[in-house]
Symmetry: C2
Subunit: 168 residues, 2 copies
């Protein structure tokens, strides 16, 4: 194949993939946690709007987390539960200026419950991937210390800020 | 069975069901649209915070809607797409006063795309169920006229306010 042809095939494959995940292997976080490949398909646990850093969030969970959320088993959350927070810049809706909605994707971050494996960080592993290219956040295996510091005020609810939103 | 025993069994069944949907048949909307039984399991398309009526929203979709959203086929949305908006009162997070999060459940509402069946209302059927008991909203089959009036300013984007949030 010519170089032009190879470039064209690569371009078409990139278009077909439609996402950074399908397009190639995403690097794990510096502490070894892997990006859950199907996080976009997880069910909703809650939503949030933070005005301190001007972001909108969807809080989703894997099956273990969603089952625990719906049954009210969230203090502690069970081992195997993974919570995902999808974060976007907050922008004003173009057609309804009293609505704040997602703009640019900022990052996706996870809390992975394993009381034994992550005993040093309150029973949770933490990881974050930034930007459209899903670049792992942090420089070394101690990346979670920063997360734990912020989550310690909610130690009484198993280090999780999110309360599952009521769903009848 | 004694009345007390019957009441007790009913109470246990209600606890087991864990939701208004599992607990019994939810009445259809006055225009005949049925509540999608599995809406809680749908994938996230976007989120929103409305300050005019002080609510937080998760916007979810059935498989046809999510596929269309991810492929960018949203103008028009395809027949068969159903968009769901889960709406809660907006409250300040107890542990982070710069975060607005879901409080009480308000209602869940849907747009059902069928260009032929719903030609009179722009190709979309509209329905809403209110409160924890999921009471159908509206008094007669013309309930959607109120919805169409509010959605007409976004006729240029197939009557849908929501733009799918970017997911890498």
């Amino acid at each position: 194949m010519s170089h032009a042809r190879i470039a064209r095939v690569g371009f078409v494959l990139a278009l077909m993939s439609g996402s950074a995940i399908a397009g190639g292997k995403i690097a794990p976080a510096p502490n070894g946690i892997e990006l859950p490949a199907d996080y976009k398909d997880w069910k909703v646990i809650s939503v949030a709007h933070r005005t301190d850093n001007n972001t909108m969030r969807a809080i989703v969970g894997n099956e273990a987390a969603v089952t625990a959320a719906r049954q009210g088993h969230t203090n502690p959350w069970p081992n195997g539960a993974v919570l995902g927070k999808i974060v976007w810049k907050a922008v004003i809706d173009k057609h309804w200026d009293k609505a704040t909605v997602p703009g640019e994707f900022v990052h996706v971050e996870f809390m992975v419950k394993d009381a034994a494996k992550f005993a040093a960080t309150g029973g949770w592993g933490y990881a974050r991937w930034k930007g459209a290219e899903l670049k792992p956040y942090g420089n070394d295996a101690n990346v979670a210390q920063e997360c734990v510091a912020c989550h310690t005020p909610v130690k009484s609810q198993d280090y999780v800020f999110t309360r599952p939103a009521p769903l009848p």
